[in-house]
Symmetry: C2
Subunit: 499 residues, 2 copies
Amino acid sequence: MDINKMIERIDRYEATVGAYYHAMGVLGYDAATVAPEKSVTRRGQTLEVLSGVVFDMSTDPELILTLNSLWENRDQLSSETVRRVELLKKSSDKISKIPKDEYIAYESLVNTAQEVWHRAKPANDFEMFAPCLEKLVESSIRIYGYTDPDKDPYNAALDEYEKGLDSAKLDEFFGKLRSELVPLIKKISASTPPREDFLFGDYPVELQRKFSDRLMSALAIDRSRCIIGETLHPFTENFGRDDVRITTNYDPQSLASSMYSVIHEGGHALYELGSGEDLEGTVLAGGAAMSIHESQSRLYENMIGRSREFCEYILPQAKEIFPERLKGIDGETFWKGVNLSRPSLIRTEADELTYSFHVMVRYDIERLLFSGRVNVSELPRIWAEKMWDYLGVEVPDDRQGVLQDSHWSGGAFGYFPSYALGSAYAAQIYATAQKEIDIPSLVASGNISRINQWLEERLWRFGRMYDPWQLLEKCCGSEFDPSFYTDYLKNKFSKIYSL
Amino acid sequence: MDINKMIERIDRYEATVGAYYHAMGVLGYDAATVAPEKSVTRRGQTLEVLSGVVFDMSTDPELILTLNSLWENRDQLSSETVRRVELLKKSSDKISKIPKDEYIAYESLVNTAQEVWHRAKPANDFEMFAPCLEKLVESSIRIYGYTDPDKDPYNAALDEYEKGLDSAKLDEFFGKLRSELVPLIKKISASTPPREDFLFGDYPVELQRKFSDRLMSALAIDRSRCIIGETLHPFTENFGRDDVRITTNYDPQSLASSMYSVIHEGGHALYELGSGEDLEGTVLAGGAAMSIHESQSRLYENMIGRSREFCEYILPQAKEIFPERLKGIDGETFWKGVNLSRPSLIRTEADELTYSFHVMVRYDIERLLFSGRVNVSELPRIWAEKMWDYLGVEVPDDRQGVLQDSHWSGGAFGYFPSYALGSAYAAQIYATAQKEIDIPSLVASGNISRINQWLEERLWRFGRMYDPWQLLEKCCGSEFDPSFYTDYLKNKFSKIYSL
């Protein structure tokens, strides 16, 4: 077969398998946002059928032959095609190693586990969720045993989210965070906390929905390509750059909870919306890795959204919608309030400074689970112990403990470190951008679209062309250095707490 | 192949093709309720892929051979299997006659047309929608040319929604409605209309959402299997009996608009929720025909929802939610208000008495379109003329005229007569039920679930086992007789207007 014919073959594969992933993705989005509880069984059957077809298409010997031939002739291909072949080959090789039954059963298991978790969390019933979690861990370990037989399964999981990442690197990274941040956290806990009373109270959901629209406008998100849905645990999903969906969860007694969810997920959305048009429909479209994704969401959430300039910019709009609750609050008070640092129970609502310690709890537990040294049934106890060790807080119940995150119910083990890593990447990316554009002034004048433009140019448009660490280097002109992150945190919190 | 093997083959076909219809259906539901505007292109591509697979599966020579062998050996099969084979054969024979390109292009065209209509209606821009409508009419005529070459294409369309229906039967039916109802409508227009002022004014959407939940409870709809979404033009969709979705559209200045949408769509939902459990996953599951479906939705909307007993039952709950607007209104006033009869512009908000004249307008126009005697560009003018002839109202714009309904954008030509026919079936079904259970007393005491039970037993559980007219006879013990409908209307409106 000539090269062009072979490229047409992979074009066709991408278009076809893409349609199946799209349909399965919409089924999943629908399930997480609106589908009735009892829809789970039928959806599971449909996902089994569709994932079976995906398996067959992706392991088709003729496709694999084509990918291998293209790979051998890669010197004749454009760099984009080489990268496409590389990624397609990797995913196809991986799927081919998994028995088909196992592959399909996993898809169906995730569908069930998510539905069970959606009931177990509000019911504060870990026992209800535990059997699903146990199966998910077992199934993941088994699958990594097929795909990466020579690797420690947890390292295989980490590598899936961030190519080249392993526990040794993470131990070093988390070690640095601990040694740099613990003294600061101690100082802060001895200081007087800022006011935050105004962030709580009567914040009706229907008004918060209006505020979400204001936040989306402030971030210059194109609403003809991006919607907001509501779910138990916020996430972002997308089906190409023209169909991005963020979700939030409204707490009628809290302003900041959904506000910073929307900005966080808005950051994810901007990244997907800015994926290169030329990559659309190929495996190169979308985010490079979860760490880069989290670098964008955390950059918007914290470095922009929790900056003094953004607080001063958005407060008048918040006051229009919530005049009573925010009466007499000025920009500085708002800014300090949304940056109050205090060890707490819920990761998504944690302040920036203590945030990565929440990640460490999950990282430790995932390692234990994947090593087989603990049983799922022990998790509530271990969770409580770890939260005490890292954050000094007591966990009152599983809803605010081990059941709080949706990730494990979706089979996402090894994902959590991306949040901490992403936060650190964000600080380095921000420092790079700041040399070229003045972010605080742009935020102060409501010109966030200029920041979006910089990030699109330097990061978003490349999609999956590069591995995450490569992309970071390409964007920043230097290797990853976590000092940007620790310096940023020390500087910011010293100001807020006048240390 | 032995009979059991052949039955297994069609079991497998139903399960597989069902998964594709499920996925395509969720994509469509998502599009109509929440998907961002620009998602249309990618969704079109995905639908093309999936519908191409459905085409291939449904026209697989081996499947057709199996269906034919089973049909020849139908004396050895259970009546359920015979019916399954009959319906599968019919649909497979039909699809086989359509060129694959045409079949796929049609699926994609509907996706585009729906998105365009969703923009054209609020913009009051018929020109925007006209090219899509033209293509849909042409494509439908072409497709019926393949599937039913000997039939008038509009009769083929009618037959698709209601087996055996044709324009001759409808002309007779509508003729009877005109001769029986026009004198009554004239008498009423000379009478003093009841109060309806309290149905309009400030009805905030967030409170209407709460009221919808009350209505769903009043109808005894199982919410773990049924959700409410929001869309431009309400519809009901379902993916098996455990996943039913109704939709509504809230007008912040009107109580009755969404209230009766919810009850109407609730009727559709109850029918799907009550489809026999034994039929689940087979082609026999779900509604027998659109006319029977509309008989259920119109029965709940009008014969129950607009009954004096229901108005008296639900009013205290409405008052809890809207105390200001409904202060001093009693059950009788509410009942008369929601039954005010006056020729109007919008079909879905028309009173029961003038309703079928809206259907006649659409029926006439569809016949003209399918006969090729008019161009799509003439429709706004023809619409206005017909509305004047049948209802004596002037059409101020296309949003309240030819653009009001979603049906044509979905390619549903020949569907509208089901509404009038369904209303007439409803009256006959109601009269049958009334001989066995006392519907008004059950409604008055909030015991609608007993009515649901009767309908489930006599109608819903049979799914598609029977053709619609057969099912009606089975349920009522007599042939279809439109006098039940005209008698019911004369009786009801004579009471309301004290004629």
